[in-house]
Symmetry: D2
Subunit: 255 residues, 4 copies
Amino acid sequence: MLKIGPYTFRSRLFLGTGKYDSAETQNKAIAASETEVLTFAVRRMNIFDETKPDPFESTDVSKFKLLPNTAGAKTAEEAVRIAKMAKAADMCDMVKVEVIGCDKTLLPDPIETLRASEMLLEEGFTVLAYTSDDVVLARRLRELGVHAVMPGAAPIGTGLGIINPYNLQHIIEQSDVPVIVDAGIGSPKDAAYAMELGADGILLNTAVSDAKDPEKMAAAMKYAVEAGRLGYEAGRIEKKFYASASSPTEGLSRV
Amino acid sequence: MLKIGPYTFRSRLFLGTGKYDSAETQNKAIAASETEVLTFAVRRMNIFDETKPDPFESTDVSKFKLLPNTAGAKTAEEAVRIAKMAKAADMCDMVKVEVIGCDKTLLPDPIETLRASEMLLEEGFTVLAYTSDDVVLARRLRELGVHAVMPGAAPIGTGLGIINPYNLQHIIEQSDVPVIVDAGIGSPKDAAYAMELGADGILLNTAVSDAKDPEKMAAAMKYAVEAGRLGYEAGRIEKKFYASASSPTEGLSRV
Amino acid sequence: MLKIGPYTFRSRLFLGTGKYDSAETQNKAIAASETEVLTFAVRRMNIFDETKPDPFESTDVSKFKLLPNTAGAKTAEEAVRIAKMAKAADMCDMVKVEVIGCDKTLLPDPIETLRASEMLLEEGFTVLAYTSDDVVLARRLRELGVHAVMPGAAPIGTGLGIINPYNLQHIIEQSDVPVIVDAGIGSPKDAAYAMELGADGILLNTAVSDAKDPEKMAAAMKYAVEAGRLGYEAGRIEKKFYASASSPTEGLSRV
Amino acid sequence: MLKIGPYTFRSRLFLGTGKYDSAETQNKAIAASETEVLTFAVRRMNIFDETKPDPFESTDVSKFKLLPNTAGAKTAEEAVRIAKMAKAADMCDMVKVEVIGCDKTLLPDPIETLRASEMLLEEGFTVLAYTSDDVVLARRLRELGVHAVMPGAAPIGTGLGIINPYNLQHIIEQSDVPVIVDAGIGSPKDAAYAMELGADGILLNTAVSDAKDPEKMAAAMKYAVEAGRLGYEAGRIEKKFYASASSPTEGLSRV
């Protein structure tokens, strides 16, 4: 079971919303993924701007924990303001701190992310911090008391998969709070890999919403997370340079 | 459904036998994998050498299709002789041609593999040919009429995963018979990756038998194959160099 | 030519000192590398601790620009104190800010690195900041006014090469000051790769000092940097999925 | 020194011809590369087809050893016929056997390559065999007596670099004749890598001819080959998972 702050989850897959072609497709993907956590950008919601559509109009959100993110914020203050808006609308079980520092890569700003996390923790939020895979930055965030760190596999929406498994492994090895791999996952193998490295969960959006068949991809990702987690628990074989017979016949006379 | 020669399979995972600590562990792994095809080295069996134990003594083999391999053969003639022995013992639904040409890497000998495949096809066997990932060699094998080609992901027992996804992709793209990725798989992400590339199935042995918890790893691999297959069918997103917002907020006023 | 602060260099290879078996080997490696910049850990010098040997006793340091680093510092204040010690000893043309935040990976602490850089810039130092490959952190350092950013290829002494060429490329693309790739280089191909990605220079220590033949490896690295730089300037070919004849014979009649 | 059959070379870089924009650019690239071996496709020459231009019209070929290739051949017989044509024109110091088995990847046909090599060896040619990176196939070619094996790094003209360093390393480790890495090199780092793995030389064409500045890229490749070779001889450091201080300060009191 995955525990983040006061919540416990059976599923280790968090799913993004708001990018699907239709509410119907979104609902099918949500169902196929068996996720228990839905994320969304507050600034895209009608709680932020009344003219926006409600992406959850046909979704029974009471069945899920809601994880609004602060996408669009470039400073800690903006992030805090966005988070409070979600709280006020009663749509904030946990908050994902997302403060972007680069328009081309959408990679997070380390300083503003630390500041926003600190401010939101003081306000009593359950904080999950989206961060680069900088090993020491992840430690700094944990020291503040965040409830989970969310290192990116690769920049948002690129589908490049886990570019730096090395850093990810060190972050996981050192962490005493859940590590949720966020951003950059492109396909099921990437999700499985993150979990095999010992991640506690993953957050997906584009990889599912922009797949040719989102519902089927959501199911694929569900199995991938399961596969990776079981693989992590089962303990994989060591890699070797030389082969060893998997059908050993040593000591047998030649035919 | 996967079709090889006269057989149809729901599961796309073939499982090796004979390397587990105990018959009990083997049976648990077989059950957890939900495989329909068991492979084994004829030369390790008591059908070959009466003093050998029967690795299937507590397994109801009638529930499975049996895929004996010719491991230990270094020539086509040896491979044929081993295959016939399996047939005579009524333990040969299909045969995996395995003729090793290098003791250090256990990589297959292209010439003897071609010859053995040709000879066994003439004898009426359903032939699956274990081969390197040489693209033209795979084509040559298909032209002979093999029922499936089995390119290695990496040398047997190394757990290095898919070293050359490029060649694998070309083999799959050109193939009109099933491509079963065989050898070298180390963890679930590797199995998922093979399937995402479009492989029709995978064959595993060491990755499961030598995992710390073989039964759990067998389950992990079952999910990984499912994840990879669904991911292939669902159509993954393209990779990009620059990020794109998965929670797009363009056009919104700043907070 | 490489320009950092007030200095101009023909060579783009900076070489570490203090790790060689003997002063003689160090001097041979320095000569073979044709470097113009020598780096050293102030805390290992007799300017810091009188009982320490002088690693430059047989080296004519007047021929080089000296780049002391603040290795051993865990806070900005420690780094500043170390840098001032080097300056007082007249061994500080430039200073490499190195504030470690993790004992296992020796990866830098982003916050203390920023603080130390700011403090040293105010004191008038020519500052080169050793940093992780966090894209936004590199931008933050540039905004402070550092004279060069030094992202790591991989953790110090690991020889893992460029783990994340993606981040490196973004850092380089966005930078208006020199980018010197520092730490993690294992072999000449890594040095060439960094330069091909557009890095302005590289800093090496372990890869040379711990090679079996340091003098020869220093020469290898010199050529690798040259190769990579020329390759960058020459403009490499695009990668393709399908082959194209390099000895094209299309349109020719068959033999 | 590199020895192939009766020839000895100081340079380990073989250069292709016939793809440059002009004879002038080709000559500049040849000069910058300092190659001693020029390769060319016989079928593109006027020795094969009188209407073809002479790519060497302004090159003093007497300064080089000539390595015609049999590109365009799909069978051993065609390859032999092409090789004999080159010999008859007195343009054949050595011959590169190239028998393509796949139009999309231009990967070689293992069977026809073996046959052509055998036939040409019987005719007394100095034979260099272009092959896939199949480890056992390379051994088979050596057993025939070829004077060098030329495994591809990646398909011709793709610039993908060394896709499978594992196979390459095994081929090199087992070989008692020179291993010249041929095809697929995209940039200097790839050339350096091949040489670091222990290759005896490399053959380039597209990576130089199609670079934005072929002359400069030729120089880059010359240095890359030198760097890789020296790096191989110098003995690189082992890779590590955990960092180790390159400016060790253990045992020192804190500042």
